[in-house]
């Protein structure tokens, strides 16, 4: 039972934005974080359901892939457009988010709105240069996901509603990706996860993104590692060297899932495994098969 004074179910974005502009209100979609984690209900007296706004879409348009705020993790995991993008890293992240019942309710946008450093989809989204399209009373604004997260459960969203996430598709045919999650089981919250994308020309890396989850207050893009990858041969040796940089750059905490020291060590492991997939040195998983 949520202690709330009202449940709103708007049918237009304008209505939803106006409702959310008031004090003490929050958006609800799948509800799988909101109903079980009291931190999201602090100061909240009314909820605004955003599932009747027609935002369930995943579509490709003008060189962008758009994922509406209503799209569930299961939909994201099962869509061929996403399974075919950079070795399917986003579909794979969505496929290991919680249990089947959770994936039927939880949305990708909700995973971003919750802004937890251990979430399974932000690393892949960041490695794909995703952007967040926000709608509020002052209109629409687009925020690169890279500057969206501020801290655990904190983002720049404020009272705005996430309308959709978008991923640039220009040049994405040449993009190769890797994703590796380390947890007790695939259903568990990650102890560490890693996503990478690479472009490789004549055996040399021309572009690199490397992002780790659950190792810092926000999903962490490891710029120093990305810089160290560019211009190098896509080999095991390079990746082992980069893993050492990652081990230095992460700022993990100790909690009931893992100690900081253990997280530091497995950060290097997850990094190498994700990079191997991106370079074709290991076979990427097809986690969506069981999503």
């Amino acid at each position: 039972m949520l202690k709330i004074a009202a449940y709103h179910s708007p049918t237009t974005l304008i209505e939803a934005a106006a409702l959310l502009a008031e004090d003490g209100r929050t958006a609800i979609a799948g509800g799988t974080d909101l109903l079980v984690n009291p931190r999201y209900m602090v100061g909240v007296r009314e909820v605004v359901d955003i599932r009747r706004l027609g935002l369930n879409y995943i579509r490709v348009e003008n060189g962008w892939l758009y994922i509406g705020a209503g799209a569930t993790m299961r939909t994201v995991a099962q869509r061929v457009e996403l399974q075919g993008l950079a070795n399917g890293i986003l579909a794979r992240g969505a496929a290991v988010c919680g249990s089947p019942n959770i994936r039927n309710m939880a949305t990708l946008a909700g995973n971003i709105a919750s802004a937890l450093p251990s979430a399974d989809t932000p690393p892949a989204l960041l490695a794909l240069d995703a952007e967040v399209v926000l709608v509020g009373m002052r209109g629409e604004r687009v925020v690169p996901l890279d500057s969206f997260f501020v801290g655990p459960a904190k983002s720049v969203r404020e009272r705005d509603l996430i309308r959709e996430l978008r991923i640039p598709l220009a040049g994405s045919n040449a993009l190769r990706g890797g994703f590796y999650k380390i947890g007790r089981t695939a259903e568990d919250i990650s102890m560490v996860n890693a996503a990478a994308t690479l472009k490789i020309q004549d055996g040399k890396i021309s572009m690199a993104r490397l992002v780790l989850g659950a190792v810092a207050p926000v999903p962490l893009r490891v710029s120093r590692a990305e810089e160290a990858l560019v211009g190098q041969a896509a080999t095991e040796e390079t990746f082992q060297r980069v893993a050492e940089i990652v081990r230095d750059e992460v700022r993990p905490i100790t909690d009931h899932r893992a100690t900081a020291e253990y997280r530091r060590r497995i950060s290097a492991v997850a990094t190498v495994r994700a990079l191997r997939q991106a370079a074709g040195l290991a076979t990427p998983g097809e986690e969506w098969q069981h999503a």
């Binding site: 004074a5 449940y7 509800g31 109903l35 079980v36 909820v47 359901d49 089947p100 039927n104």
Partner: protein, 156 residues
């Protein structure tokens, strides 16, 4: 507590429910005397409160009842037809796939959604499908056997 009126279909019957704004779907089921769906963890971690909403298996503990407006809901009470157990229930009974039995409705509803989409599953697929369902008596072998048996029974 402010209330919300919702109209939905529950186990094939159109109903109109008066629910509290913050009430979970699970609480609303219990308030309407549908107590077969169990509250276990209450935090979305165990799938013990699994029901089918529009054919998808979901956890009734982490969804507001108000959000079920217009939905087609199937609970464990809706499986048996005219006093005859559903093949999945029958298979769970035949395999002895319950210990204390508290998590069993959640397992069966999850299996129900899964078998609709995968009528000919192998063991690996069944294990993956049930991976979110937690049994604290730790009985995990027989539910897998039961779901495989149910798949066979449903083709006979």
């Amino acid at each position: 507590m402010p209330e919300v009126d919702i109209a939905l279909t529950v186990n094939g019957r159109a109903v109109k429910w008066h629910v509290e704004a913050g009430e979970t779907l699970l609480e609303a089921l219990h308030a309407h005397h549908l107590k077969g769906t169990k509250l276990i963890c209450g935090t979305g971690d165990c799938c013990g409160c699994g029901v089918l909403l529009n054919g998808n298996s979901i956890n009734a503990c982490c969804m507001l009842a108000a959000q079920a407006e217009g939905g087609d809901l199937l609970t464990i009470e809706g499986l048996a037809q005219e006093g005859k157990l559903h093949p999945i229930q029958e298979a769970f009974a035949q395999e002895g796939a319950a210990q204390c039995g508290y998590c069993t409705p959640g397992f069966i509803m999850r299996a129900c959604a899964f078998l609709q989409e995968h009528p000919h599953p192998n063991e690996t697929e069944v294990r993956a499908a049930l991976a979110g369902n937690i049994c604290r008596c730790t009985g995990y072998v027989k539910p897998v056997a039961a779901v495989l048996r149910a798949a066979e029974m449903m083709h006979e």
